[in-house]
């Protein structure tokens, strides 16, 4: 489309963009590189950019010390689980707000967001007691539930904005074709909103994956996710940089990989809706 961009401009933008991108990415790159250094090399000054002695020792040690895969499994279960259950609740809610709005729809949306404003530390003790009494402490079910609850407002919000971009008359067409509500949602709405749903899913998985307050405080041994894994490497006595970096690399790797793979989807998804 439109007029061609001059090569000079292309290169200017390319160089500028790469510089900015590398600066923003640098702390992560540094973490990843540090994971392959020895503890001594990790704190060299002036810093050694590439590991002077490449080593996988940190990774082995981390795995030997705390079972990465168990934490990984727990993280996957609670973040994916909470996101899927959240979707189950959020899709109908977003459907009604997008396609049958009332005067109060905007208020309900704002109210939903405001439920996220309660500072988590302030309610830790009450929630802990409730969890204890329900036998949910240190259980995947409990963590899944609480993550679902704290992310639900954002999920409803995003889905709502995506759904609003979908032409109502296609849904009406399905009603004329004899589709009852759940069929309308399953066969028509959801497939059309796939990009939006994908980005909502991803965002929620990221938020759930990185949620560190509840997952840390409500889990012990059985349900501990990767946030607890990380917490066992930050600031022990002694040098810990390389090990922390290795643990961090392991903890963010899955989400980074998912993020990278779905980057296109994410961008397309948001283009499709969110914010026009």
């Amino acid at each position: 489309m439109a007029r061609a961009v001059s090569p000079q401009k292309k290169w200017t933008f390319t160089i500028l963009a790469w510089i900015v991108a590398l600066i923003l990415f640098f702390p992560i790159l540094w973490t990843i590189l540090t994971a392959f250094k020895t503890e001594g090399d990790a704190i060299l000054f002036p810093p050694a950019f590439l590991p002077p002695h490449w080593t996988l020792e940190n990774f082995f040690e981390v795995q030997a010390r705390s079972d990465y895969f168990r934490h990984f499994f727990n993280s996957v279960v609670i973040s994916v689980g909470s996101t899927l259950i959240g979707l189950l609740v959020a899709v109908p809610a977003a459907w009604s707000m997008a396609f049958a709005p009332t005067r109060r729809t905007k208020d309900i949306l704002m109210w939903m967001l405001s439920t996220k404003m309660m500072p988590a530390v302030g309610v830790l003790v009450p929630i802990y007691l409730i969890f204890k009494n329900l036998g949910l402490l240190d259980s995947l079910a409990g963590l899944t539930g609480i993550l679902m609850l704290i992310n639900l407002p954002i999920m409803v919000w995003m889905l709502y904005t995506y759904f609003r971009e979908i032409p109502v008359d296609i849904l009406e067409a399905s009603r004329m074709d004899g589709a009852v509500l759940w069929k309308e949602i399953v066969y028509v709405l959801l497939p059309m909103a796939i990009p939006g749903i994908a980005s909502t899913l991803l965002l929620n998985i990221i938020l759930a994956w990185n949620e560190a307050f509840w997952t840390l405080n409500l889990s012990a041994a059985n349900a501990a996710p990767l946030t607890a894994f990380i917490a066992s490497y930050s600031s022990p006595e002694g040098l810990f940089w390389a090990k922390l970096s290795a643990a961090s690399t392991l903890a963010i790797a899955p989400i980074l990989v998912i993020g990278w793979f779905s980057q296109k989807q994410l961008v397309r998804g948001m283009t499709f809706g969110a914010v026009k």
Binding site: D169, I170, E172, A173, R175, M176, A179, Y187, P191, M192
Partner: protein
Amino acid sequence: MGKIVLQGVEKHFGDVKVISNVDLTVEDGAFVVFVGPSGCGKSTLLRLIAGLEDVTGGRILIDGTDVTDLPPMKRGLSMVFQSYALYPHMSVRGNIGFGLKMAGLPKDEIARKVEAAAATLNLTQYLDRKPRQLSGGQRQRVAIGRAIVREPKGFLFDEPLSNLDAALRVNMRIEIARLQKALATTAIYVTHDQVEAMTMADKIVVLNAGRVEQVGSPLELYDRPDNLFVAGFIGSPKMNLVGGRIAEGYGAATVGIRPEHLLVGREGEGWRGAISVAEHLGSDTFLYVDVKDVGLVTVRTQGEAGLRTGDSVVLTPDPARLHRFDRDGRAIRAA
């Protein structure tokens, strides 16, 4: 199957009365066209019949059953949306077959019916494409296919051809008319295209500001409009309407004469005026003649009349084709 009756139907949006007290009977198997100016409520009325909106007052009967409170899927009608509203994620096959799938038909029966419909609409080779891979005309045909495959009690068409170019429009118009006759299904068709309305309808319903102005066959409306609104609305170019002394001469408050019913001469009795604009279409010429006491009068002559802007001409109305209206705009009929 498929008699649709509206009894005193009303629709308000908030304070705005969009449809007021419409009574209408659409006979089984009839092809009824709704026409009217933009915003007069055509689409709204169609959506009320479909069940996509609630009526504010009145009842809707289909084959004698009161369906006023039934949701769309229970009314047994199918609809072609102005915007097609195809399912973008389904193939043509999926789009056409969706209604049948919802009705729970067995797979092979769906396949058979979809293929039959596709054959009728010349879509067979596109069955596996997605809507975005189709041209406008093909999409249109898919929308129609989706409506016909279900063999519903009635079709509702909302300006289905408005997005097509002239050539495609003519073809589709003929095809739809043929199909509707073949299936003998009741059809309600909304359009703002004069030619479509005149050529397709058994009956035309002229709407204005949410009211029915006149119901009748195309030629009835053309030849005997009930009132000034219908007279002005049906026919293109528009009927010339003249008031004042000339109308009084005919014993009416207003007289109307269609552009094609004015004879043009150089000399003689009649309305004398100068041609202010002449539009040459090749097949016809539209003359806009400035007549004293009357204003700009449109005249349609066949072919190239050899007349040019500025020429002085005399217009003679065909008295048999003259329409007379009283002070309230109602037609005065010879007893």
